[in-house]
Symmetry: C2
Subunit: 349 residues, 2 copies
DNA sequence: TTGTAGGCGTTATCAA
DNA sequence: TTGATAACGCCTACAA
């Protein structure tokens, strides 16, 4: 029964020092150590110094699990993102982090990669961690897993998606308007045959942007059949290239003179293929993208794109989920941001 | 002293159900519930069903903090990334996640955004969460905060950086070789005046890639002064454009016929400016990037680039940190991956 | 097969 | 100002 000093114990057993160890080392009671940590003013400077020294010596680090268990809640928000490699979502996450930081919380990022199974798994884990709130860009916004979450009492905010259900907070951007802006811009530039490129149609964004495009098209008095719809499998660069092949295959007399893509990744792929195929942009083919990711402005022909306030989107979502977590009689809100067209060389007359 | 049913309690107090609540609801003891959770085979099918039903009714979700407190360790790895908006790092993170998932752990992502303060803060939080291991692409690889971490007993692996110190595991890519590959490729293509674009020189990668470039340049018997070095502030698109301005300002008779950029973001910026300035790529200016991010192949003139095995890098790092966490007499390793040149149109003769 | 008890590290309450 | 103690939810011996 040789009593090893805490220091020695730590070194040998690798166990990490606890408040109790600190208390022993500093020759005070456990409660005093806790006071040093949480209400330093209630401790005399002398003892406080002694305790702090002991903490340093032992390499004491608070155990967040224990705090959390005791507190009943964590100090985290969780965001289940749809695609961590899409710059759009990383920017959204950045905005959330800003808000979380302001509130003294940290943000845990998870990536569903667009798969329901992974999404479900991450939600499970986040709940087990008792996150204060859950932000999610769901694979399927209408899925009932979201209801299950909310019914368990976890504040949930749906990000960059809408849902026909006023019992959820949602934060999104007006995609119908975005579609309008893109087409109005192209019509202004004199285009009378335009392709809309996007898919899969199961995505709300893809549908809404097309709807906006159609509305603007009709408002301009143009015939429906001159707004060609090219459907893609995914919103990725490779699909943009493929759409380019289809466009390039159309006889030039009937080929659209402009394309509006449902996101910038598609637009970049299209741009690349167009140039490879010898089409000049914007002379032979004007291109409008969507999202205005950094690479849009940096493309060799800088892309005209519909900008979404990505960081603000994230910030608003985080603030909303915090409000829901804090304010007991919080009202669910559907926040809709306004997109903005950024004109660049890819549509310059 | 009216005893409210757990169900009612949950609904009213918002408190989330615990194993104890489940036990009461199912009419069994707390230990049995725990057994259902952890050793279902030790419980008779009948009681198990009863307990499972109760869990469902109450919306029971395990409390990870409590488990963790009890277990003494979490089920998480942490990665403090340098720049979450750089596709290179998101791919690395993806590789880590794969490995973590295989080991039944989850990966927490943090973004230092290249700032030491934020890095320090995240490290603090991750330690408080008692992560099993820490992966980090540090702002300063030689910083002593890393030593402090390791001394506290947390396994640490340095990612995409090297450090002159065999007491750390590091996983990186051979940047000297990468620099060599780029220059050899350009020399092969007949270039005899080349610019190296990169900075700040405080970054090891920037230095190493330049060193490799110089070695290859000398091996080819070319004079040092014909390898022009253009220094940048950061490895971002805007700096690439700026470098382009400097290049374009050089009289065409003395201008380098090719540029090797320290990463793809610079290369994309350079490409954009070159085209704007009326330089044809690769005819007037060939360009080689570094990283081979997705947008490199998708650029309007697809970029030749030095590819790094990003996902493998992440996977290896995660496996290493797990080994360090598990195996008591683990030997620190410095893993060095081999880069590979991907030739595309931006250097096509 | 099921139940009981003790403790993980922290915090807050209450008493000294 | 400081100290003792109970509780958070879970898990695992060990006992019945």
């Amino acid at each position: 029964m040789t009593s090893t000093s805490p220091l020695a114990r730590r070194a040998s057993a690798g166990r990490t020092a606890s408040v109790k160890d600190v208390a022993v080392a500093a020759g005070v009671s456990l409660g005093t150590v806790s006071n040093v940590l949480n209400r330093p003013d209630r401790v005399s400077p002398a003892t406080r110094a002694r305790v702090e020294q002991a903490m340093k010596d032992l390499g004491f680090v608070r155990n967040e699990s224990a705090r959390q268990l005791r507190a009943g809640t964590s100090r985290m928000l969780g965001y289940v993102m749809l695609d961590a490699t899409n710059p759009f979502f990383t920017d959204v996450a950045q905005g959330m982090e800003t808000a979380a930081e302001t509130a003294g919380l940290s943000l845990v990022l998870c990536n569903s990669r667009g798969r329901e199974g992974r999404e479900q798994h991450h939600l499970e884990l986040l709940q087990q961690q008792r996150v204060q709130g859950l932000l999610i860009t769901p694979v399927s916004p209408e899925s009932d897993v979201l209801e299950a979450l909310r019914d368990r009492g976890t504040p949930v905010v749906i990000v960059d998606r809408t849902r026909d259900d006023p019992s959820f907070c949602t934060v999104a951007v007006d995609d119908v308007l975005g579609g309008r802006l893109a087409i109005e811009h192209l019509v202004d530039r004199g285009h009378r045959r335009v392709a809309y490129i996007g898919g899969p149609p199961s995505l709300g964004q893809v549908r809404d942007r097309l709807e906006g495009a159609r509305l603007a098209w009709r408002d301009a008095g143009l015939p429906d059949e001159d707004l060609l719809v090219i459907s893609t499998e995914e919103l990725v660069v490779a699909e943009g290239r493929r759409a380019g092949e289809r466009l390039a295959g159309i006889a030039s007399s009937k080929r659209p003179t402009a394309a509006f893509c449902a996101n910038d990744l598609l637009a970049l792929g299209l741009l690349q293929h167009a140039i490879t195929a010898g089409l000049r942009v914007p002379h032979d083919l004007a291109i409008v993208g969507y999202d205005d990711i950094e690479f849009a402005g940096a493309a060799a022909v800088p892309l005209t794109s519909v900008r979404q306030p990505r960081q603000e989107l994230g910030r608003a979502a985080a603030e909303l989920v915090l409000a829901e977590a804090t304010d007991p009689d919080h009202e669910h809100q559907q926040v809709l941001f306004t997109p903005e067209l950024v004109a660049r060389a890819s549509t310059r007359a």
